[in-house]
Symmetry: D3
Subunit: 266 residues, 6 copies
């Protein structure tokens, strides 16, 4: 933003007029695009869990980063994404890999046309990660955007519930605690049940984050479609996780602001 | 929802768990899918104008219809849609006709898979109307859904500003008043200017709603990309328009609930 | 056509050589592309009804407009279009929304490459209207064409049969009369039957041309797949309707010839 | 057509009602789909040359075959096809390989849905041949149709003009004579010029019909975009060629009627 | 290759570094892209038959042509292609027409970007021929490549086994002999059986290489999915056929090196 | 393979006949599909580096696993894949994300049709990983295949050259050593140069394997398009790495053979 004068009060780009957005965005600006999901999260969490988390953390982090002086803006969260692993569950509202890819490619084109050169996908749904990695490269090649991809929260693995064996990746301790913090009215802990495919720990090579990954659907594991143990979740832990996620995102944004792959300072 | 017992407090489907959503939806349920847009609305209105209006009116109308006893549910608003007529304006974030079509087809498939048979597109952006009509038929044929399409507000034509000549279709009197009512902090009336292509009134056959339509971009008219006269807009009129739009939507939902193309009562 | 000398006798562009077509077309030329359909029109009308009407009216209108001095040309009628609402009926030969869209986009590209800048879709099948509206904008944006869309006949609503209640939109009084005028050998009035979903008139908001539209297939209404009352159709009324449609099209072409969205005279 | 009674007078399927078409078509019926083109044919022939020839020969042949007792029907000619080799020439109206493929796949689906099992592409434009071969197999696999592909005329090679060296494949002696026979008003022989890339005869392996084929555009040869020598064309020869083409097509249809790849008589 | 110095020892382009490839390729270079197939070839031949033949003949021919001084390079053989006619047979690994087309279009783009202007498809699977013809034109138009298509072997028709009646086009005398020559360990002649649809010879117009072609699947003929008579195949004949095919390919490459459609010497 | 009798000598599925392949594959079989790449690997390594490594390691591992009793089969390596990050470098032969995805989806369909239910992608090019993860899930959902994805070699990170700082991911110490082992004739170490973007180590959050990933092209880093330090590479280390990779792959295959996501022993 080369113009002088006070920065707009809001960093929600869509709250600006087009005229103001065009003036606000420059090659120094970071544009954040959160991606949620509307998908089955077991009987105890709402369909909008990923959307809620991505939206909440990203907006808080952008506000904090802007307050710290970054030229950073946030777009509305994409609600419907690639939840094909939960396609079997009523309530999952999903689009296919090609439709999501086309969507983010076209939005990337719009962002580049608006004058920005840096785009950050802020993703709340693990099932989107691989495709968004593909998109990051595609947008880099086609529109010259410097693209980044980050998860909405600190890695769940580091904050698993005590009985999750590192498998708490969907509707488990972390996500349930976060929703208890953000929207306790949407959680029914009385319906929460532990759903951990412990047998996966038997494999040395195969695993969600091991050397050999595998294509899975959430009803493959003989459980209720969740992965984790929400029974011990708490709003207090959710708040801790939320604050930590925001803080780490702010740090990441600061790095993004000075990132140059060729090594020169930006 | 055939089961007895109290209805859920919320009618926002994504606030339910997948388990609850599967139980809530039946062949009697109406699912409402609002469609917004993030696009240039001149120097005085925010990019999110259409999104804001579609989201606000639809949620208010669904709540009111539910209170009146309808089995009706609402999904999160699609933020990014087919704003190609404003592609030239920085800040417009748009996807193409095929991407939007694929998106709504796949969401329709998800809705049908969840057990509902009635889908209502509640549209806040005029540029989506034609494509959503195509989608209504496609979803009817492929998934058997009974589909409907309605505008988020009462027809602007009937409520044009006095100097709009029936051309106030984008960022004019009606939309500006609505945003003044809903989010006055996002309007800067000091930047509003009349932008009416009066010469279009010279044509008997050609016009936005006449016998011969034409393909236009919002920068075709020698104006600032808006169509209408926002200078006399007011929050009071915006509230009136909002209430009227909600009321008419509730009436429409009631008709949808009893609609059967074959003539038998539902 | 800037060159002096007599205009070609024919206005059927495909009857010219490529060399002559290249010389004939300029930024002042209007190119008309009729769109028909091959689809079920009940037991009394031929599958080619829409094709016949679009082709006949458009050619007559172009000839008349050319005789009146317009620089106007017509292309062969597209025979197969988006008749998905009649997909259930044997004899309906249809292509999907994406195939029709791609077809007209590529033809628009060809027309622009030939030197014309104005394209008019002259449509004989109501089921194409929404998609062709989308196409009009797409062609405007991508190739700079000034695009128009008009129905082949004057609005049926204004000329409904007495018992059609405004619902005579497919194989009813108007279309049957037109075919009786154009190709009486193809009509078997003895098989004509009234097929009017009167119950639709009960709805204030929902309807083909009301505030809330709906996605329908022609076998949704508990009828024989037609909509209207052909029993009183006549060649005399068909001729009247034909002449009126031609006359209005000629008027519309004259407006198109002087149309400029920015307000300057062309 | 299992029902007794007289056959319909017309064999143009689109002239029948849908009801009649459904009754007329059976597993014994042959459906003929002609494919034309609207493309540059030099300064002396109309853009519609291929369309005219495909349409005329196919309809004459179907009428003759029907008179001889075959259960055979013809659809409207597809006007716009894959004329990409003439894309450089104003007046060429073309669609891409994928659009043409999708078109014929969807029409094949429609034909199968109508009850026929045999489809014959009757092609007037050489540039479509390869793609239609691909389509023949696709339609066989996906819809079980027995598909055939034949050229509209007897092979030009056998009837080349004396100075064509076997290269008279586009707007040369044969095509020019045919149009002189069919629509002499559309030919301007005074503009015809010999356009034969004689140097191609120097190649033993490379050639239009030799062991090594090559991808060519019609402006690759240093000529006017035609291939052949129309200067000696005549209506008399055109009539001879037309009659021969019709006669051979009738013979081919008779073979098609009794063709069974598994060897059993049909 | 304009640079002086010795030519690289290998003509397998993928064995060069990118740096060397960029230096090696120029507008004078010929790039050969072989296309195989992995598909059912009866009980006696391996799935990789077409791949083996295309790969072996093309590499031998390129080596010979390079030794004779041609600026010619070869790429790795595409293994998986359009084997839809054998889709019914376990072990056939195939991609659809659109996927193969996109693949070769994108590889053509890569080849053009590397500095070459001449591309030769060297095809081992007859089922690819028509689509590759389409591709040759598409690549000519879009990237300016001079494209060629040749079969990997001399036409089987000229070298049919004595009992094949010109129908030995799949796993018959020629292919079986070639594999006996190239990889005798992969042939089990004891399982070979004659599979000739002799009844096809009854048709004057319809046939694989006659005026009327047809869409066929390899299980249409009431045989074991092969077409030909492998029972008399021999390694000796295979060697003869191989040598002849290589020799003819070398001759064809020499013609390609001097080919100019406009007639000027290259 | 339920039938008794000796197993085929080869585990290269394409060396079997279709008949034998159909008999060999069962729900117990593992099918391995290697994916290579033809892409720039600096001035010292061949374009086929990834192809060579994927092909060599996978075949050796499958042979070893088969010798150990596994019911495992391997398909030909896909040569051309998604090398878009090297699109700028002559010699890179790449296809887009959608084309690769369609290719593997269609091959997955073929594999499922052949009777196998387990598919392992054995990938030699890092740029394919994300997309193949997407494919693993797509194939699981659409065809019920149990899908796996593994890298061809042990993670480079664990075996980086001493000066690579964990950034030796493309044409560095590990890959160069492997090619020195497998095909020393294709390596020119005299051209090898260290190309390590050391500045990337400055970032705590952003990195190839850190919390925030980024979209990069190989010419983004101000280097020669490689990432790593090949100067100390050796055939001896290459052999060690090869053997270790084979051994780990065999272990992984054994786990795959007994993997069941639902926890029951296979």
């Amino acid at each position: 933003m080369s113009a002088s004068g006070p920065a707009p009060a809001t960093r929600r780009l869509a709250e600006l007029s087009g005229t103001a957005a065009g003036a606000a965005l420059s090659a120094d600006s970071i544009v954040v695009l959160p991606t949620g999901a509307i998908e089955h999260h077991g009987p105890h969490l709402p369909l909008m869990t990923d959307h809620l988390i991505a939206d909440s953390v990203s907006n808080a982090a952008v506000d904090a980063a802007a307050a710290a002086g970054l030229d950073i803006w946030i777009l509305p969260t994409i609600a419907y994404t690639k939840s094909d692993e939960h396609h079997w569950a009523p309530g999952t509202m999903w689009i296919g890999w090609d439709t999501l890819m086309q969507t983010v490619v076209e939005l990337g084109s719009s962002i580049a046309a608006a004058g920005a050169t840096t785009l950050v996908f802020f993703n709340g749904h693990g099932g989107n990660l691989a495709l968004l990695q593909v998109a990051c490269r595609e947008l880099r090649r086609r529109f010259g955007l410097q693209t980044f991809l980050m998860g909405a929260t600190v890695p769940a693995g580091a904050h698993d519930g005590p009985e999750e064996l590192g498998l708490g990746i969907h509707a488990g301790h972390a996500e349930t605690s976060l929703v208890l913090h953000l929207r306790p009215d949407l959680v029914d802990l009385s319906l929460a049940e532990r759903s951990v495919p412990e047998h996966l720990a038997d494999f040395e090579h195969i695993g969600f984050k091991k050397r050999v990954t595998f294509g899975w659907l959430s009803n493959d594991f003989g459980t209720n479609g969740t992965l984790g143990d929400p029974t011990g979740a708490s709003a207090a832990y959710g708040r801790e996780l939320f604050d930590l996620s925001v803080a780490q995102a702010v740090e990441a944004f600061a790095e993004i602001a000075r990132f140059d792959p060729a090594g020169a300072p930006r």
